[in-house]
């Protein structure tokens, strides 16, 4: 009986202590953040993003209650549970809980991502960049494709010396023809349409011009044509 009470107090006490731990500041460790000074040292030489303060290290201690802020489809927000399923941006296994995943091919579900040059032309497989199972979300802290290490962990496998800037190349580039690209990649969108305008403009002028010219020359009057001997070019 006495022992029972002791165990209960022990449990309650340790429970309180453990809960209290959650409210303590994160433990500082030797692997603390690599901090870059405000002066950007070695900026021109280093193959990194320079975002050390924020992400380079272990994730900070998570808050105990994970919530996913304001994710919505159209005007209706998802419930937190639904959002957690749908937003797989930060999962260690981005396909966690997706049914029949094992038996299918990447392109069954990710058609959009199969149109890039690496896949279409160079015959690179998805896994050469995204890695083996589990495929982490790109924004997961430890994902090899997280922008903070993408250049070193993925691109540099084939593009020796790839820098963080190089890795900001958009592998699955949106099609600039699409209206959505105006938002997702505005520079590409406008550059594309300006070039198209130049091309179409040139042709709108010179195609009819040249056709009309060709036709008109067929009807040059005889007297004039006489001063133009056959085949004298």
């Amino acid at each position: 009986m006495k022992q029972m009470i002791n165990i209960r107090t022990l449990l309650v006490a340790s429970g309180v202590l453990l809960t209290g731990l959650l409210f303590l500041p994160a433990i500082a460790s030797a692997q603390g953040e690599e901090v870059s000074s405000a002066i950007r040292r070695y900026k021109d030489r280093e193959a990194s993003t320079g975002y050390y303060e924020e992400y380079e290290m272990l994730p900070r201690r998570q808050r105990p209650f994970v919530e996913i802020p304001g994710v919505r489809r159209g005007i209706f927000p998802y419930s937190p549970t639904a959002a957690r399923v749908r937003v797989r941006m930060r999962l260690a296994d981005s396909h966690q809980g997706i049914k029949f995943y094992e038996r299918r091919r990447c392109e069954d579900c990710h058609i959009e991502q199969t149109r890039d040059i690496h896949t279409v032309r160079a015959n690179i497989t998805c896994r050469q960049c995204h890695g083996g199972e589990p495929i982490a979300s790109n924004a997961h802290y430890f994902s090899p494709l997280n922008p903070i290490r993408r250049h070193a962990y993925v691109c540099a496998k084939c593009h020796e010396g790839a820098s963080a800037s190089y890795a900001s190349y958009v592998v699955h580039a949106p099609n600039p023809l699409m209206a959505g690209t105006m938002k997702s990649f505005p520079v590409l969108f406008y550059a594309f349409w300006i070039m198209v305008a130049i091309a179409v403009g040139t042709f709108a002028v010179f195609l009819p011009h040249t056709i009309l010219w060709g036709i008109r020359e067929l009807f040059i009057k005889k007297e004039k044509a006489e001063s133009e001997p056959d085949n004298e070019n």
Binding site: A167, T210, N233
Partner: protein
Amino acid sequence: MNLTTKTRIKRFSPLQRIFHVLLMLSFLTLGATGLSRMYIETPWGRWLGGLFGGYEAARTVHIYVGIFMLCGLLVHVFYLLFKINWQKFPRSLTGPDSLLPRPDDIKQFFQHIAWFMGFGKPPAFDRWGYWEKFDYWAVFWGLIIIGTTGLLMAFPLTSSRIMPGWGLNVAFWIHRIEALLAMAHVFIIHFFIAHLRRHNFPMDRAIFEGSASLDAVRHEKPAWIERLEKNGELDAVLVTEAVPGQQIVFYVFGYAAVAAGLFLLIGALINTPYISW
């Protein structure tokens, strides 16, 4: 054919003709290698790439020939600097012998169009028609746009130090559209003007032979001949026709280039639906 009387008028210097031949050769090579890569998903593209040693080798050829073409542009710019008559500097560039656009060109363009429609008389062109000037300057800006974006993509590790890597996505599309425009313009409009229209049919040899038929020029560019006659300079620029052997070479070379261009144009058009964009 008359090989003794001077029936032709000088139009291009040997150096200018060499520039044009080199431009033709490098342009067609770049077009073929570039399209072979763009169309690598199709049998046509793979066949075309095979001519250059496959998909990767085509890229190497493309880059070297592209750099060669850019060097050509550089040499041409130096050539211009030597060629410009600096004594009469600003005026020498605004005259009718210059390829710089003049207000007259715009007028003549509209007058020409009016004539196509059956209004008025054709404009009395001087040495260079507006379409010739356009072609000349189109090569200039085309080369600069395609050349810079091409260099950015050829050395992506270096270029991503001076711009963000996503600039390569943008460079890729600018390069592609400008190149397609250039090819379409050359393979359709330039070829038509130089070969198919009645005035030049079957081929305008001037760019190979260096001279054009005086009669034909008098007909299309009367202002030029008039100016030369008035200044008494005409006789100095008259030359005889090239010997038949040379002419055969010109025709064969010219038509080979047309055939290559049309092959690329038609192949690209037919296969457009079969590549991922």
